[in-house]
Structures are given as structure tokens and as C-alpha cells.
Symmetry: none
Subunit: 210 residues, 4 copies
DNA sequence: CATGAATGAGCCTTCATTCAT
DNA sequence: TATGAATGAAGGCTCATTCAT
């Protein structure tokens, strides 16, 4: 891999020409639209406003672009979630409510909603990437959630329950929602609103854990 | 589409040559391994023990094979679930326990576990198929689950809750488990066992709904 | 080549099953419709009411069918033309008029109108067949026509002119007409009527030769 | 269709690499040799000195190459004929003599002699192209010829005769000659010389029309 | 005689990747 | 740094031909 996301060469001037970040942004759009295999580098290039060959100035190829995309776009958000939890003062149930909303905004409503679909689709073809995503994204998020459950159990808010497993119960409906939105909602349908489902989820879960 | 799954011409003799069913079985294996796009028809043919050209005796092409696979392999199991619910005598909580176990066996432990990944991966490329899967599989399963919730609410077992949304909460951890198993579990890891998660899920859910 | 046109096995019973003649008739229709290369043996078989494999009971393959078709369908008509001329009693101009009409009926209005197009299209791929057609069809017809011109010159009806070349002038408009009909007349146009052109042709020609 | 024949980007330097024009020239040779269906794009590419894939930089596929070939190579010559007639000063008979010679050079002796065979062969498979050829080539040439006949009739050189039909009589021997040359003349024969036939044709025709 | 089933060879087309400029 | 041009490799699909029954 030749490039990191942090573009190395801005000199204060307003950027005109496309750098690695623009390429990754373009790649996200194109990959999200058709999946990795059917995505054509030509489209990524056009979307980024550069030539196909120029992609190779920044990345080693299609696969490298995909990997860089995943590595760069997701981890910062995980860190943000970890920070949110680390700084939390209130009770565990409220934290859980907050976190589920936060993850929901990220994974269902933002541009990042394309990732779960993409990762799932290409996991078999990119084992390394899948493991990266598992350890750096999924397991870290699960870890955060498990810590909340642990805290709630310790404080007596929740009944004793395996925190690792409970964490999985927390994110499952979020995964469901994002895949539902990115795979099954037709264009002619009213915009998918995950809020009611997430509300019911968090309340049922808190009640179930209580 | 040229072929239905039920081959019409067996005469009691043990079939040696590969028919549509064998092709679909082979296709399931190959598609599950690499995804639709990277799957090569040549591999499907070899796996089925026939020539590439012979595939075209039964199906109109790669896409048709994929569609036939989805259409033929999943719906019967949906019907089995519907039948299970229709004939149920006991209380709703037990039915829910049973159903979750049944779906788990199907979608996590059987060969069918490849489908969620495949469908998710190819939804954008096969909108019709995605809609077929949504209406004929997902929504029917959700409908079954919603009816159970409704029944439980009516009988006083469960507190009032939107059945349609609740149904989504029921399957979400099942979806999570399948995708976890098919995408992220490494070969060198101990065999993935969904049972603990599903146990916790069903008990927490029932408690949350109570 | 394994079969001749004359079917060998009729025993007086009304024929039900398709023999070589039926195959050639079917082949003529199919070849005429799409040309040799795009014609599929499967269509020939269906058109003949037999299986694809059965074609090989009578012919050695696609090429052989095409060759048999050409060899069988055209030569008899050449012989008929030769007979017409051999038995002619009247003057040369009338004979020419008659012959042009006769050839016109054959080559423009009958099923045989497909041949010129087919032969022209495939001449490069079937050099032997092209030579066969040249010597057994074209040159024999040219010979007949040349003999008429010779006779007319000898009798003083026509001015001295190279009979071989003149013969080519005689058939050229017939070739034009058949190709026009089989290649350029659209289906939505009124049926192509070659009569006016042929009338003008023969009168102009006779006047030109006089 | 993606390319026009007139390449837009020469900068005075001697062109080394093959452009659309070279491809069409190569395609003409290959198609002329084996006909459209049997022609392999690989041969066209090799003949043009480029790779198979490079063909797709300029054309959308085999069919597009064929269509571009027909559209680009023939029409300009039709326009040249029309100009010849428009500027003619002498009598109609001489014009006719000149025009037949000109068409003969084009259609029998130049590289274009392959077109009639090709068009005839593929008319059924390319109805649009056949109609294009009919309206843009054949009918325009026939129109030119008909105008000459009309002029001759008006001036009293020719007896009254349907100009449209007469025009067909004019080109018929030219068509015959081309097809004879491209389909039936063997390589081991002396070079086909159309001159005697065309001489006889034009003199006989003029005499017949007089 | 007849066929359903099967196949091998061939070709068009796509696209990630390279390279001279 | 940037690109237009070019390509090699790969895969889906077709169809004439064969063969066991």
C-alpha cells in the first residue's frame, strides 16, 4: 500500500486536484452503488475527477483502494464511540440509549451505511480485511458495549448477564437496520426511518436486562 | 428461466447424471465460497460433475442459476416455519423459543447459512431478486413472528408492543449470528456455537416483552 | 456426403417421418432466413420435425446439408431450361423473351430465390461449392443463353456480338432483381413485382442486339 | 457508435499507431475474406496491428465496426458520382459511358468490390444497415442514373422509357461483374477483366434505348 | 431409425493494470 | 504528477457434433 488517507501535500492552497481522500470518497460512492466486484475503476476515477491511471499514483490497485477505504473511514468513528463511553457520567441505561442512537446515526444514516453490506459481501475475498474489520471495528464496538453492560451489572442496574453476548444483542438490530436500508428498501418507498425500531429495541433491551 | 428444481423425469433408477438439483447444489457451494461475481460457471459445472455447456441445458445463464437457487432453496423452509406456528398449541413464549431455535438451525447451522451473505452482497445487482427475497422470505418470516407477538399481547403474556417492530428484534440476532459465522469466523477458530447467544437473546427478549 | 436427395425408402405409404428431402426443404427455409452461418441446426431440425441428432443420420453435418441443398435444388431446373431451349421452334427474340420469363419465375418468384444470396454470401467459405455452382448452374445457364444469341446472330436477327458476354447481359437484371427482393425489400413494402423491369429489359436488350 | 472515421487528432507527425481508419481498413480486408460471421475480431486486430481490446477503444463491438465500415467507405464515392453527373456538359450517351466506367472502377476494381458481397450476405442480419445501404447508396446511384436517362429522353437521344427501371438495367451488369469477381473467379484464373463486358453493355444499352 | 443429453472448441466482451509521453 | 492509449487475462455464452439408449 502506498498511500494513507491523511493527504500529505496540502500547502494551504485550496485543493483543486484530487488526492487520496477524494479518491476514497469516490470509491465509497461507487463501491456502495454496485459492490466491489462490479465497481469499475474507471467510474471511481471519473467520480474523483482524475484519470484511471492516476489512481495508481496513490494506490496499488483496486484491492488496495478498497482496503484503504475500509481502514480509513471506519476506525476514527470507533474511537469516537470509545471516547463517548469513557467520558460518560450518568447511568448505564442512558449510556446505552445514547450509544445506540450514536451508532445508529453512523451506521444507518451516514455515508458509512454502505460498509456493512460491502464488508459482508467481500469478506470471503478479503480475509485479511475481514479480520481487520472484525478486530478493529466490530470487536472494539462490542468491547465498548460489553463494558457498559458490565458496568450496569456491577451497579445493579442490570441483572447478571454475559457482557460479550449482551453486546451482540445490542448491535444486532443496528446491523439489521442498515442492511435492510441498503439492500431491501426500494427507491419508491418512503424513506426508511430506523428510529421507532431503535426505540423499541433499546427499551425492550433495558427492560430485558433489568 | 428454463428449469424448475423438481426434476420431472426420474424412473426409479438411481440417477447418475447431474440434473438441475445437483447444479443448484453445486452453485450454492461455489457462490457461498466466493460470492456471485467471482464465482465461475466453470467451477459450478465441475462441482456438479458436468460440462460448462451442460449448465445451459437447464438454466439460461449465470444469473438464472443464482435466481433459481434462491427461489428454490429458501421458500420451502419458510413454509415449514409457517406450519410450525400454525399448529402450535402452547404459550407464546415457548413458541418463540422454539421458533428461534428452528430458525437458528436453518439459517446458521444448515447449508442455507450462505444465503444472507449472498443476498446482501448481490441485492444491488439483482433488485428483483432482492424484492423476491424480501417479500417471500423476510417479510413472511417477520409476519410469522409478528403474529406470535400479537398472540402473546392478546393473551396478556406480553406487554403491548408493535408486533412488526418486535418481529425485527427477534430475527436481528439471528442475522447477526449468520453473518458472523459466514464472514468473520476464521477457520482456525473453534467452531462457532450460536446457542449461548440465542439463549440469552430469547430469554432477554421474553423478559423485555413481558 | 451420405445422402442424395432422391429419398430411397418410400414404400408407397404416405410419408410421416421426415427424410432427406424434408430436411433440405427445412434447411432452405432456415438458411434463407438468416444465412448459413447464423442458421442453427437446431432450427433446421425443428423445422423438419425431427431431432437435431437425426440430421446426422442423413447428412454428415451442417456443411454437408448446405452442399446437398445447393446441389439438389438447382441443377434440375437448369436441365429444364436446357430442354426448353433445345426444343424451341420459333425465332430467337421470342425464345429470349420466354427464357427470361422462365428464369425470372424460378429465381425471383419461387423458393429458389434464396440461392443467389446464399451462394454469394458463402462463396468464400465454400470454394468447392462456389465452383460447383459456377460450372453446373451459372455457366450452363450462360451457355444456354449464349447459344440463343449465337442462333440469333446466325439467323440475322441479331447483329454480331460476343455470345458469352451477351449472355451475361441477359442474366444480370435477373440477378439484380432477386438480390433486390431478398436483401432490400422491406416487409412493409408492397410485394416486389419484377415484371415491369424484366419487360423493359428484354425489349431493350432485343432492340440493342438487333 | 463511438468513432467516426475522420480521426481528429493528428498533429502532423507520421502516425504510427493504428486509429479508427486503420481498423476499418483491416476490417474491410478481414470481412471481405470470410464474411462477417466468420470474421474474427482477433484477426481484425492483428491485421490492424493492435490488440483485440484496443478495438473497443474506437468501436462498440463487432457489429459497430461493420456498420462504421459500410457507412464510411461507400457514401463519399456516391457523392463523387453525383458531382460527376451534376457537372456534365456533353451528351447523355457519353455521360452514361463515363459513369459506367467510373462505377466499374469503383465497384469492381477497387477495394470496395467487397461490399456488394458483404451487404448481400448480411442484409438479413442487419436490416438497418441494409436499408441504409439501399437509401444512401443504391437508390442514390439509381437516382443519378435515372436522371441521365430522363435527360436523354428529354433531349431526344433516348426513346421514352421509365427512367427508374432503366437505371436498374444500367447497374445490373456492374453488380454481376462484382459478384462474379468476388465470388466465382478462382485464384488460378487469369485476372478478371470487366472491360469487354462493360463495353458491350454500354453500347448495347445505348442502342437499345435509342 | 431416432433421440435426449452432453460436450469441446471457439469467440466476443470486459476491465484491472501498464507505459510512453 | 498526470494521462491517453493500449493490452493480457479471464469468463460467459453458443452451437455443431457425438453417443448411449
Amino acid at each position: 500500500m502506498r498511500a494513507t488517507t491523511s493527504s500529505t501535500r496540502r500547502r494551504g492552497r485550496p485543493r483543486k486536484i484530487a488526492g487520496p481522500d477524494d479518491i476514497l470518497a469516490a470509491a465509497l460512492r461507487v463501491f456502495a452503488a454496485t459492490g466491489y466486484s462490479r465497481a469499475r475503476l474507471e467510474d471511481v476515477a471519473r467520480e474523483a475527477g482524475i484519470s484511471k491511471a492516476a489512481l495508481y499514483l496513490y494506490f496499488d490497485g483496486k484491492q488496495a483502494i478498497f482496503e484503504a477505504l475500509v481502514r480509513s473511514a471506519v476506525v476514527p468513528n470507533v474511537e469516537r464511540l470509545e471516547a463517548l463511553v469513557a467520558g460518560w457520567q450518568g447511568n448505564s441505561a442512558d449510556l446505552l440509549r445514547n450509544l445506540i442512537q450514536a451508532i445508529g446515526r453512523l451506521v444507518i444514516e451516514s455515508e458509512l451505511s454502505a460498509f456493512p453490506k460491502l464488508i459482508v459481501a467481500e469478506a470471503a475475498n478479503f480475509p485479511d480485511l475481514a479480520q481487520f474489520y472484525r478486530t478493529q471495528v466490530i470487536e472494539r464496538v462490542l468491547g465498548v458495549l460489553a463494558s457498559i453492560v458490565s458496568r450496569g451489572v456491577a451497579s445493579g442496574e442490570f441483572r447478571p448477564a454475559d457482557p460479550a453476548l449482551s453486546a451482540r444483542l445490542v448491535i444486532a438490530p443496528l446491523l439489521f437496520s442498515t442492511l435492510w436500508k441498503t439492500c431491501f428498501v426500494r427507491d419508491d418507498e418512503p424513506r426508511f426511518d430506523p428510529a421507532p425500531l431503535l426505540s423499541l429495541h433499546v427499551e425492550t433491551l433495558i427492560r430485558g436486562l433489568a
